[in-house]
Amino acid sequence: MPESLLTPSLLRRLEQFQLLATRRAKSTSRGERRSRARGQSVEFADHRNYVAGDDFRYLDWNLYGRLERLFLKLYEEERELPVRIFLDASESMTFGEPRKFDFARQVAAAIGYVALSGFDRISVIPFPNQPPYSEVQATISPTDYNVELAARGGLRSVRGKKSAMQFFRNLNVLTAGGPADLNASLRRGALEARHAGVAVVLSDFLDPAGYEAGLTALVGRGFQVDIVQILAPEEIAPSHFGDLRLVDSETGGMQEVTFGRYRLKAYQQTVQNYLQRLREYCQGRGINFFTVSSNTSLEELLLKQLRQAEVWG
């Protein structure tokens, strides 16, 4: 339900924001974003020589009076900003207290709401794709399966503030499970997009295959990429000690480790090293990067961190 994702007060505050795109919108659809395209708006862009067949209504008569030559006034076309949210819905996102996936959906809802409020087109791409029903029929009823299938379809392209409720509803229906392939999902999303825009990646970035290829594809396609890495508190500071046999929820791989409190610092150092590498990678490619724990306050992220980083303003 929408209430479970974002509180009304938060929604009200989010309405004040607009996504800040550093690049001109490249969409073909008209919207409220400045673009390089010339078209109809109130923003004067340039003059050009009249050629036969041009609309007389855009002739600059004042200039003709001074120079006795025909010039055409060009105006900037305002286009929409396509916003693509890559939502990690893999098994690893179901961990944490609160669940990382729940937190990610809240962030997705907030970004989506801001985008919808700014008349931008939003598409949410949960990955991995929903598996064929035959594989999951033991765990999910056909109704639920179809509902989620419909919701995923409904999230492909949403526009206009009036669609916000439906948008939230569809987000709420999503479930997480299965192994993620971050690189493949991002690359496919980059290729599928007809126009580059803003890409927001909500994931834990704990993919053994890495993240570099996917992010490079997005950046290369011309997306302005924002990353929110969501980690569970347990992943940052484990509370289980002793002789452990750890089972990877996605790959099923096992890792035997003997872990005591004395090694907590070393582990946290490893986490910091990992985050630092990711951060440096993003900085090198102009990607906004945020790391949050799933138990941090949503307002803190949305109203402070994203705003300070000028994701929106």
């Binding site: 961990f95 002793g242 002789d243 046999r245 089972v247 990877d248 790959t251 480790v257 004395y262 070393a266």
Partner: protein, 611 residues
Amino acid sequence: MNFLAPAAFLFAISLPVVVVFYLLKRKRVVKLVSSTLLWQKFLSETQASAPFQRLRKNWLLILQLILLALAVLALSRPFFATKTKPAQLRVVILDASASMQATDESPSRFEKARSEALKWVDGLANNDQMVILQAGANTEVKQSATSEKAALRRALQSCVCSDGPTRLVPALRMADSLVRDQRSAEIHLFSDGAVPELNEFENKALPLVYHRVGKNSNNLGIIALDVRANPENARQRAVYTSVANFTSNSVQTDLELWLEDKLLETRPLNIPAGETSPQVFVAQQDKDGVFTLKLSAKDDLAADNQASITSLLPKPVKVLLVSRGNRLLEKALRATPEVELATANDLTDAGTVFDFVVLDDVAPTVWPKGNVLAFHVTNTNWVENVTRIEAPAIVDWRSAHPLLRYAGLDNVQVMESLAAKAPSWAVSLVDSPQAPIILAGELGRQRIIWIGFDVLESNWPLRVSFPIFIANAVDWLNPANAKSAQLLVKPGDPFRLALAQPEKSANITMPSGTTRTVEVDPKANEFVFGDTLKQGIYRIHIGTNDMSFCADLLDNAESNIKPREELQLGKFTKVTATKMQRTNMELWRTIASIGLLMLMAEWWYYHRRTV
């Protein structure tokens, strides 16, 4: 291959312990996590990526360093040098006499002394040598000089405590000869000090170190035992005994008299501290047997709580008097109980059917082979350089000799006597200023009393001492008495038995009940049995004869088990008990034990910190 410290193999017990550590399966808790990616990175980062890393404070490291240091320390075999000076040769004398069986030290003085001596073996430096002597009834060299600790330990372990008295003199004499020319040598005596006189060593400056064992003197012992015919009734036997109380309190005990397996009498005794209680038992005896006395009181030394003696019934003494007629002598002989006297003018055979022969001023045709009491005869086989002296004055006589017991020669005058210098086989009993006139001794196995004068040429027969002397002589010359004396030996002393005819073997039942068969040399005319270390009754079956002999301690000095603080060597020299510890007190065993504990602590810590 030899091992200096075979006991160290006990550490092999730790090998299975290590295996057990590894057998213990580490139980891992299975935990489902979102991703193992970070863990993999964590493990790869903490594993060695560079040959060296900064040294961090790690208790495991410290424990292992300590462990290694302890192992190195143990291997270096450190020791505490005590005040004892180093000695290149140490002669260890282990007292193995009966008093060392006292149980005031746990488990006994002998074991305590042995363990002390073993410590000295442990403390032996690599190039030093040691000799092990066991001083019991005989001195035994258990190990000649060696540095081999294993051999020395083995020698000490093979020492056995006997029931016999201490004979320290031969042991010290041997030790003295071993250390005499050594520059730095010591004699270590492990004893309770219950030893006889050591006057011999007064001026020898023995490098003697006396290690005293024993704490107190809680002992009651039978120190004397004899059996004779009852003087008041010759048909009865009288058993004479003395029980000494060496404790510091008066003791009540029961003294039991057994004849073979029959209890004859139980007598309650109350002996004050330090006193000796002489007791006489009178008993009927129908045949030869063994009287046994037992003390019921419990004390620290059991060896002297029981004593046995073989009692042979008196038999008539067959005596042949070869004389030209001497009524006084004949009367004196006949007056002696049990004597069956025969008289003759001359001796034509060896006189072997008689127990002894009396030669009275005759020169027999055949000299007797048995025991002889000879008056005024000259036999150059017995005495040489016989001279005649007129009216010899009797100036001295040996009153301690059994022959002159209660027979003083006061007021005895002799008209004329033969005199001879005492030969090697005899001692002088009565001396004139010129030469001895009465000799007694044992020549071969023949006991001879030689009296230089004819009694009829003296006033001796008129003196009371004469019949007493004759009675003493009958006792002394009677082979049966000598035989019965042979039937009581000290533990450790050999038992001797004259053989009338050649024998091949003898069966001996030991006090413990075991039976041994001993080969006898058919040419030997004497049977000797030496394994009498244990006291008690030994029963012998040899040829057609059955007999018993007894080994008894009966030693006042040995029963007095009070540990002596000092050993008196003569009048002016004494050796005080040392409190010296063994030198070179080795520590490696202790260190190795601590190391083992450290190892366990390390294991415990390693597992604890992962939880």
